[in-house]
Amino acid sequence: MNAPPSPSHLSSGQAARPPRPGPVRDVVAVVLVAVPLGLALLGPLVAGAAPERTQPFLPDAGWLGSDFVGRDVWRQVLLGGWSIIATALCATVLAYLVGAPIGLAAAMTRRRWVDEALLRPLDILLALPSLLLMLLLASIAPPTAWTVVGIVALINLPDVARIVRAGALEVARRTSVEAMWLQGESRVAIAVVFIGRAVLRTLAADAGVRVVGAFYLVAAASFLGVGTGPDTSDWAVMVDVNRDGIFLTPWGVLVPAMLLVALSMGLNLLFDRLLSRRRHEEHTL
């Protein structure tokens, strides 16, 4: 309070903050997210029964033409968003469920070899391109949506474990934790109250980036045909299978591609906004 902070604290703290996003950017972000998200979540409810198949790549069939096997593109668009979003969310949750305990265990252990044994293998995983890992695993695992969930979670596992470990370790080494121990608090209580709180903050900051990353991976996997068949209703699959007809019925490729781009951009902008607000609050605390 009365100790004047050195100028560097203030200036660097303020400077490192990204520029305040304007209201225009917020509106753009909300629209970018709302349109694809609305289509993905509500689409399956309003899609209705499948109409009769027409010729492949027929521009006049339906609103957006027909796809590579003559299905209505608009109906496929309505059906195709849900699976990507659900898969990405499931993968993120699974990565946290498995990764957080590993990271916490590594941070709390007093035996160095346990720490090493838990994290070194993950280090090796972390250093490999995630798509490569995905393709390798996909080439042996059965092609289902749960395979993709598992693979994407596995790819995110090292990151999650590391982040949790670092967050917990930083807190566990604090003088205030030692002071609490001297006050007779049990290790478990300290871990739950103190470290848990810090780790939750870390995870809250990380969740946005992680969901967007999972979304990216799931989309790429679907596009490459991992875990999906060619006739799956899935925006990424649509882009892949309808590519040959881009000259005849461009909407069959372009609409799902634009929806994916919009959702990804919008999520990035929104999470960035949330993060910068959180950072702002922490600075003014």
Partner: protein, 567 residues
């Protein structure tokens, strides 16, 4: 550290500054406003070449804001008024002329580029200021001459020669070397004014003596020095004039001698009395229990080996150390930084693991870190040096302090909170403090709260790590009184770590001197102060307390006057 003791540079300098030179910097009516709050209020002073002006005051008195306004650094949200005149131009609110002012912050590492090698930066500076000594306009000078100038600056500041230093990064230097590197840079850019912020906070007395000598030499070279500090020993050793600040305003100004030994203002008097009173002022009754009845030791440490990393064969930080602490006794751990004082204290408290040796309490062995029972933890309490870091920033002080009573004495929440408020009151904090979060308390207040937290556990042994470091004289005296008083009323044994021999003499009955992880001297404070046997102890005493017993003589030796301290 190969430091050869030298005569205080200030005395040689006295002769050089007989003719008052025009001031290097002239400050008039400096006022800093943060909203309606006046951080600095109408401060004015001059500093001439070769003079050292000390700005003295507690933290929050406006020292740093004043100092920073001279280096062209304003904090966000602070409005500056008045004038800072350097060589005929007002530099307030702008950057002073290139290279004219150098600034050494409390942590010198902050101003050294972490990713540039030292040599490259020094060459850049030297090339930029490649002016002939007679002040002729810049001309291109060769690399050889540049290197020669750098080598001279390094010699002047007692740094290693270029071939050793140039390839290194700043973080590979010790704190003292970093300080001196900034001095060398200031020499290379021919700075006329050097602003130094708290150069000795948290340093041992030997370091303080070295810093004083180095700054004295720079001033002897004709630099004007502005010293921001609350270290009155440094002021006495170094400054030619003193300005005492309180709440942003000047309460007293004058020559060092006048201000330190004939203070006029009550605040200055309280500062100097608290500081220079020394061991003589220690209330006799607080010294008495130091000679406690020799009973069985409350704490006994035998052949303790600890620290030094996990690798086998690595040199331990503590190498076979032992001592005894009787009931009601106060033992001081003394030694230079890195001598193992804190490791020893943490082993006793059960905070650090040990490799070998035993710690006994009342004859029964205390387990090593992490395996202590709640009672064992309660009996040996620790007050951390960094009090702020020892509190959880999200909960109120009262709640946190009360946990000691809840967990260690089994009190219910309400009663524990009541006792916490009472104990905080004993340490001088109000119920209002108890309701605040740590961020709303000052460093001194947090130390009191940390003390209350430890005492509420009902300890038999209290370990205090540098409990007064970095505090101004008045706050420090308050804490020391409190400790002495608590020891009397609770009869607890104290183990205090201190750099400051005045603190040792004030509190402790016995002293243990550590160096390089071993005990080099042990004995009663009286005996050790009067007749130290180990050279390190002698150095520590020389650096810290030697002039205390001859204050009169030192004062009469100071006959310099400091005209510029009266603008």
């Amino acid at each position: 550290m190969s430091h050869t003791p030298r005569e205080p540079a200030s005395q040689e300098r006295a002769a050089d500054t007989r003719v008052p030179a025009p001031p290097v910097v002239s400050v008039r009516g400096l006022t800093a406003l943060a909203g309606p709050h006046r951080i600095v209020d109408d401060v004015g002073f001059d500093i001439a070449a070769g003079e050292v002006l000390a700005l003295v005051g507690a933290s929050g008195s406006g020292k740093t804001t004043t100092g920073l306004s001279l280096v062209g650094d304003a904090r966000a949200g602070v409005r500056l008024e008045g004038s800072v005149d350097m060589a005929g131009t007002d530099v307030l609110g702008s950057r002073p002329p290139a290279g004219a002012v150098a600034y050494l912050p409390q942590h010198p590492a902050a101003v050294l580029n972490p990713v540039r090698r030292i040599g490259g930066v020094l060459r850049e500076i030297a090339r930029r200021h490649a002016v002939d000594d007679d002040g002729a306009p810049p001309r291109r000078i060769g690399r050889r001459e540049i290197d020669a100038r750098i080598a001279a600056a390094l010699r002047r500041t007692l740094l290693p020669p270029p071939e050793e230093l140039f390839g290194r990064f700043a973080h590979q230097l010790s704190g003292g070397q970093q300080q001196r590197l900034v001095f060398a840079q200031s020499l290379l850019c021919r700075a006329r004014l050097l602003v130094v912020d708290e150069p000795t906070t948290g340093q041992d007395p030997l370091t303080r003596q070295r810093v004083a000598a180095e700054l004295g030499e720079l001033a002897g070279d004709g630099m004007a020095v502005l010293l921001l500090t609350h270290d009155l020993d440094l002021v006495r050793d170094l400054a030619t004039g003193v300005l005492v600040l309180r709440d942003g305003g000047v309460v007293e100004r004058g020559t060092t001698e006048d201000v330190l030994y004939r203070p006029q203002h009550p605040y200055t008097r309280s500062l100097t009395r608290a500081h220079f009173a020394g061991p003589g002022a220690a209330s006799p009754e607080s010294g008495a229990p130091a000679q406690a009845a020799p009973g069985p030791p409350r704490i006994e440490v035998v052949d303790l080996i600890a620290g030094g990393g996990r690798r086998r064969g690595a040199r331990p930080i503590l190498d076979t150390v032992g001592f005894r602490l009787a009931a009601g006794e106060c033992l001081a751990l003394v030694g230079p930084s890195g001598s193992g004082k804190t490791t020893l204290a943490r082993c006793v408290a059960g905070l650090a693991p040990r490799r070998a040796g035993t710690v006994r309490r009342d004859g029964a062995p205390l387990p090593a870190a992490a395996r202590r029972s709640r009672t064992q933890r309660a009996r040996v309490q620790y007050v951390f040096q960094d009090a702020r870091a020892s509190f959880d920033e999200y909960r109120t002080i009262g709640d946190q302090v009360a946990r000691s009573a809840v967990r260690l004495r089994g009190l219910a929440g309400d009663r524990a909170r009541g006792e916490a408020v009472d104990m905080l009151a004993r340490t001088g904090l109000s119920p209002d403090h108890a309701r605040r979060r740590p961020a709303a308390l000052s460093g001194g207040e947090l130390r009191r709260a940390a003390l209350a937290r430890a005492l509420l556990a009902g300890p038999e042994v209290l370990i205090c790590d540098e409990i007064t470091a970095g505090l101004d004289a008045v706050t420090r005296a308050g804490i020391l009184d409190l400790l002495a008083d608590l020891r009397q009323s609770f009869g607890i044994s104290l183990l205090v770590i201190a750099h400051d021999m005045a603190v040792v003499a004030r509190l402790a009955g016995r002293v243990l001197v550590l160096d390089g992880g071993r005990v080099v001297e042990e004995g009663s404070v009286d005996r050790v102060v009067a007749a130290p046997t180990h050279p390190l102890t002698r150095d520590l005493l020389d650096a810290a307390g030697a002039h205390r017993d001859s204050d009169g003589a030192t004062a009469t030796a100071r006959t310099r006057d400091s005209p510029s301290a009266h603008p």
